[in-house]
């Protein structure tokens, strides 16, 4: 009886365990790849963040095109880099993330060994053009430029921003800080403070609690709080987006339209999603993946899924992606070099 019970208990446990651990790789797919399963590790651990949604569209449609089982695994930046670092060259593990992949190294949030040079940059696939700054609806300013003017006109006041250390929010704040310093002087810029937070949900709560004046969010995620019927204490308003072009259907000015510049050039930041692969990933895999991505990204299914959350397809093939990202990185890193340290901005 006991043996039976033991066997009955062990078999399902082992089955679940083995299924949970998952064996990657395999005997190959019909597409000539050495793998029939690809683990796509994500640089974000959240299933509500834009990385997860963009990766879902990618894994579903590109996986289908490749005829392999692609599975997104939201494990967070450090774990994802580690997984990529120890990945085989057959493409069984690749990483999906956005510009924070290299910005986080520059900010010191991730170690130097995970810098862009150590990976093979895969295709760029999509953009979230909705990265935005927001304030409480009752705030005495309607745009980022007006917020800066308000700060200048009210010498006793500070402007506190909810941002994540080493994130894209810190980058956009850095650009704003440099512009304010240039436009209104260091005394005004020094009254820009940060309140360190993580997720979008935490940023919203910090705003509602009155602990911060401005938060970094997105059109998709925050639009619901800007509607007229929303209660006053949680109602928000958009102050500006960082994308290079305005988003259709929304009357939110870009930084460029507000005249926010760094080094004499308008500050624009399009949050772009791309793949990273092991440096010596097999040529066959990367070429097959690249052409499958090129095809999949033009399908209605892919485009429609991105459109649900107001993301747009933005394909840059592997042959150009490295230079494309490098150029962007250099510009953004020069902004980071000029900006004050995060800890100096802490309130």
């Amino acid at each position: 009886m006991h043996r039976k019970l033991a066997a009955l208990t062990t078999v399902p446990i082992l089955a679940v365990g083995i299924a949970g651990c998952g064996s990657l790789g395999g005997s190959g797919s019909e597409n000539g790849l050495d793998v029939n399963r690809v683990r796509v590790v994500l640089g974000s651990s959240s299933t509500t963040a834009d990385t997860y949604q963009n990766s879902h569209a990618f894994t579903t449609h590109v996986g289908e095109e490749l005829g392999v089982n692609m599975k997104a695994d939201a494990i967070g930046a450090n774990r994802a880099f580690q997984a990529l670092d120890s990945a085989k060259t057959d493409g069984s593990t690749v990483m999906f993330f956005h510009d924070m992949a290299y910005l986080s190294v520059k900010y010191g949030a991730q170690p130097e060994k995970f810098a862009l040079d150590n990976w093979k940059v895969g295709p760029v696939v999509s953009t979230n053009p909705g990265a935005a700054f927001l304030a409480a609806d009752e705030a005495p300013y309607d745009t980022m430029a007006e917020a800066a003017q308000w700060l200048k006109d009210n010498p006793g006041e500070n402007l506190t921003f909810a941002v994540e250390a080493g994130g894209t929010s810190e980058l956009s704040l850095d650009a704003f800080y440099l512009w304010v310093e240039d436009e209104y002087g260091a005394e005004v810029a020094e009254r820009i403070k940060v309140f360190a937070t993580g997720s979008d949900e935490e940023k919203n709560q910090a705003l509602w609690a009155g602990n911060v004046d401005i938060i970094y969010g997105s059109i998709g995620g925050n639009e619901q709080y800007t509607k007229d019927d929303v209660e006053d204490k949680v109602r928000e308003k958009f102050l500006g987006i960082t994308a290079s072009e305005p988003v259709e259907g929304y009357d939110i000015p870009t930084f460029k339209e507000q005249g926010i510049e760094v080094d004499g050039q308008p500050f624009t930041f399009n949050k772009e999603f791309f793949l990273l692969m092991p440096k010596d990933v097999e040529k066959n895999f990367r070429q097959t993946l690249d052409s499958a991505t090129a095809k999949a990204i033009e399908t209605d299914g892919y485009i429609d899924e991105l459109a649900k959350n107001k993301f747009i397809p933005n394909y840059v093939p592997i042959k150009d992606s490295k230079d494309y990202i490098e150029k962007k990185r250099k510009r953004l890193e020069s902004i980071i070099d000029q900006a004050p340290e995060f800890s100096d901005l802490a309130s």
């Binding site: 446990i13 365990g17 949030a109 509602w208 609690a209 602990n211 949680v234 802490a346």
Partner: protein, 511 residues
């Protein structure tokens, strides 16, 4: 849309399937409700949203409920929120009343789940205001309040209890400091492995699973086999039989615990584990027989299980009325909405009445199905206690290793973490550090820290903010003080009674 349309056979099937899989996930230490929801999340994209949510809600309720099974049978909490279930359910199981303990837990879970569901249905928009009123200062104090359980459960010495909990908090801070991304308390050669700190579940598995195996191995398994647990036959024994009358006199406890669970669920960033711990403390403080708690009292099982299931409806309050998830599982659940392009926010309920009703109905079905499934099958599970330890322990060890490996999809360091904390737990037992309070410190440490830091950021470092913030914080302070005083007094009474017993025994021996 009428109710019948919402009750489609497909919805029912998906909820049922979700509850079943959820119970399996919850029952296996290392697999949690959050993980179950995350695994099935991508599948929901191909479904109608209300069907997808039905599946995920089933997984959520099943996962939270399943955690009680190993907690009662193996003293190994299936999920962090069932830690407090081990306090009384395990001693009951060891006395041969495993089936009764589990049935009490299942009924309490149903009541907790249904109460939280009613609160969600009738008061969600009103309570979202409460969630906003509770800022970091109040949340820090709430967690401090949950920590007062140390005063109640400290075996022998309160000072050692506090020390153990602080050690737990300390070790929970290992890894990257999110405010500036610097590593702390991390040896150079383990920077990669410890970047995100020690994972909670391997620590829990190590402390409760592996350490216990080591302790029993030291005692000798042959001896232990001699003292084999025999499941008491409920037919022959009135004490072993589960009767609903066990809830007689427990009405206040059940309702209070359900409300504590629901309320803590409503507060994002406090954590589900705090709910069952806080309910347990309050039950002990208000109990007529506090000495019985921890030794196999049904009221302890009721407190823990009513509150951790109360959490389910509670955590959905801020999610559905503000778009802010109440706990880690609802955070993953929110992903199902976002994948479909639906952003849950303050207008969600008014804009999506059908979806809202669907969620409520799915939650109700999930609770009923969970009850029926577990209540009818639990006597088979309960037989696990009859398996001799020399057969059972190797199975648990395999489970511990596999569970730890699976937690982060195959990180070997998590297995090492379980083994390291297994050995540490064994050493802790030897030197008198209390494992349970250590774990409570470890679980609550990160939210304690983040709320403390947010309070400091918001007040420019003024520590007085914890006393001057306003009436809510004063009420929580009063509760904290009351709870500590109760705990200390009851410990003293217990010690006095024990001393009197010893003296009596000694004088009887002398005569």
């Amino acid at each position: 849309m009428d109710v019948l349309a919402l009750l489609s056979p497909m919805t029912f099937l998906l909820v049922t399937f979700g509850v079943l899989v959820g119970i399996v996930f919850g029952s296996i230490p290392g697999l949690t409700a959050t993980m179950a929801v995350a695994v099935f999340l991508p599948l929901t994209f191909a479904m109608d949203l209300s069907e997808g949510l039905a599946l995920l809600i089933g997984l959520y309720v099943g996962g939270i409920s399943g955690g009680m099974v190993p907690a009662a049978l193996l003293k190994l909490p299936g999920t962090p929120s069932s830690v407090a279930t081990t306090f009384d359910a395990y001693p009951m199981a060891q006395q041969g009343f495993a089936e009764k303990a589990l049935k009490i837990g299942i009924v309490a879970s149903l009541i907790g789940g249904v109460i939280s569901l009613l609160v969600l249905y009738f008061f969600a928009p009103v309570l979202s205001g409460v969630a906003i009123e509770f800022g970091p200062v109040e949340k820090f104090l709430i967690i401090l309040f949950a920590l007062t359980i140390i005063a109640s459960i400290s075996e022998k010495s309160l000072l050692i209890g506090i020390f153990s909990a602080l050690l737990g908090v300390f070790l929970s801070l290992v890894g990257v400091f999110p405010m500036n991304n610097e590593l702390r308390l991390t040896p150079g050669f383990l920077e990669d492995q410890l970047y995100d700190g020690f994972s909670l579940l391997p620590v829990l598995i190590g402390l409760f699973g592996i350490a216990e195996i080591l302790r029993n191995s030291e005692l000798g398994l042959k001896d232990a086999a001699g003292k084999k647990v025999k499941l008491a036959k409920s037919k022959g024994s009135d004490e072993a039989k589960f009767k609903f009358s066990v809830f007689k006199g427990q009405g206040v406890n059940t309702v209070r615990s359900s409300f504590i669970g629901t309320f803590l669920g409503i507060l994002p960033g406090v954590g589900g584990s705090a709910a069952s711990l806080m309910s347990y403390t309050q039950t002990k403080n208000f109990s007529k027989k506090p000495d019985k708690l921890g030794k196999g009292a049904p009221e302890g099982v009721i407190a823990s299980e009513a509150s951790n299931n109360g959490l389910t409806g509670g955590a959905l309050v801020p999610l559905l009325s503000l778009g802010i998830p109440g706990d880690s599982t609802t955070a993953v659940l929110l992903g199902a909405f976002v994948l479909q392009g639906i952003h849950v926010g303050p207008l969600f309920i008014t804009d999506n009445p059908d979806l809202w009703s669907g969620i409520i109905i799915a939650l109700l079905i999930a609770n009923v199905v969970m009850f029926l499934m577990m209540f009818t099958s639990i006597r088979y599970f309960a037989r696990v206690v009859e398996i001799p330890k020399y057969v059972l322990y190797p199975i648990i060890l395999v489970m511990c290793v596999l569970g730890s490996y699976a937690i982060n999809n195959g990180v070997m360091f998590d297995v090492w973490t379980a083994l390291i904390f297994g050995v540490l737990g064994f050493i802790f037992m030897k030197i008198g550090i209390q494992i349970t309070t250590f774990l409570i410190g470890f679980i609550l440490g990160p939210s304690l820290e983040s709320n403390f830091l947010d309070s400091m950021q918001a007040s420019s470092g003024d520590m007085l903010v914890f006393f001057t913030k306003g009436p809510i914080s004063w009420v929580i302070w009063a509760l904290i003080i009351g709870s500590v005083v109760f705990g200390v007094r009851s410990n003293r009474r217990k010690k006095k009674a024990e001393a009197a017993e010893t003296a009596e025994a000694a004088s009887a021996g002398a005569n």
